[in-house]
Symmetry: C2
Subunit: 206 residues, 2 copies
């Protein structure tokens, strides 16, 4: 399943969201047309995306909502829990821990690090901020799956290098820098400034 395009994964995420809504509304089955309409795509696209992971629908009957939810959660790896290291005890990190969607998707923050002596040792959303200088030691014990980087841009690459050495399998990057990591380590970036500037660029070049 390694060669699935990012866009396909995004659509699977969206289908899951819609199915959960349909379930909430009491629907037992759903057609590819209904999913397509809800998600701004075509029913052919929905069928193609889903058939890729095995055939789920019955002609004329549509998809079973609970079955398809279960299967999509498996495909998206949402059946298990992930241990997360957060590096940078700032506002975004804090918002993440309080964000329900983070825990709901199985992301457990097991440690938080910072370099600021003012922050180290202080309580932080049920954890205690640890010294970033020694996260290698904690990584050996805790074996984190994911590293979240919420540091200033200047240090993000060196933190990423250290996280990769510690064996994290994926990185979520909030710093405004493009990280270079081995190809086997997926990186997802969330960067509002880049989105804003892409918008103003698009408006300016009209």
């Amino acid at each position: 399943m390694k060669n699935i395009a990012d866009n396909t994964v995004r659509r699977l995420s969206l289908y899951l969201r819609f199915l959960e809504e349909f379930q909430h509304q009491g629907a037992a089955t759903v057609s590819s047309e209904a999913l397509a309409q809800r998600g701004g795509t075509t029913s052919a696209q929905v069928r193609k995306d889903l058939s890729f992971f095995g055939s789920f629908g019955k002609r004329g009957l549509g998809y079973s909502v609970p079955q398809l939810i279960k299967r999509l959660r498996e495909i998206l790896g949402l059946g298990r829990r992930y241990k997360v290291f957060v590096v940078g005890a700032g506002k975004i990190g804090s918002a993440l821990v309080q964000y329900r969607g983070f825990q709901e998707r199985g992301f457990d923050i097991v440690a938080i690090f910072d370099t600021d002596p003012e922050k180290i040792g202080k309580p932080w959303n049920g954890l205690v901020v640890k010294d970033a200088a020694q996260f290698e030691r904690d990584a050996k014990e805790m074996m984190p799956d994911i590293g979240v980087i919420v540091t200033p841009g200047e240090v993000a690459q060196s933190i990423a290098d250290r996280l990769v050495k510690c064996g994290v399998g994926a990185i979520l990057n909030f710093a405004s820098v493009q990280l270079q990591v081995p190809e086997t380590i997926p990186v997802k970036a969330v960067n509002l400034v880049l989105e804003l500037e892409a918008l103003s660029f698009a408006l300016a070049s009209k």
Copy 2:
């Protein structure tokens, strides 16, 4: 300048960020190597990206930091201000208004709308929440450049349709739905849930 790839625009944004840092540190010139190193790319890529918009560097001397900042701000459309309609008076909208980077990039929120009678008429970060039922009327007066959608997914598409009819030139979408709008309207999406699920998918398929 319409056919610039999204990735190029992203790199220009990043270069601008780094140049502002270099300026802050007192540097008058910068080499393509220094920019490349800071941004996780190659100096050939930096030169290629920048040459696309006219030649700025001098061989052996590098780029003038203030000149390149000025030019990049122009290219990215950061020289002017944009009027923004926010639809959805929730937490994300509120965080946006308080987010310094939003104003710094020339994005002025001129009106905020919601359908919740409890919210309509209430003060909201220096504005008053208006009834979303009538944003067409306000749009005629205020001529917004950008619409920001921070509504539940179910209504996002209909809000997008209405914003486009009102003449907004671009949309920033925080709802977890893929919007369908005319090709001439750039849409940027910010969706943390999708990034998280893409990460867990990548980890699950390892």
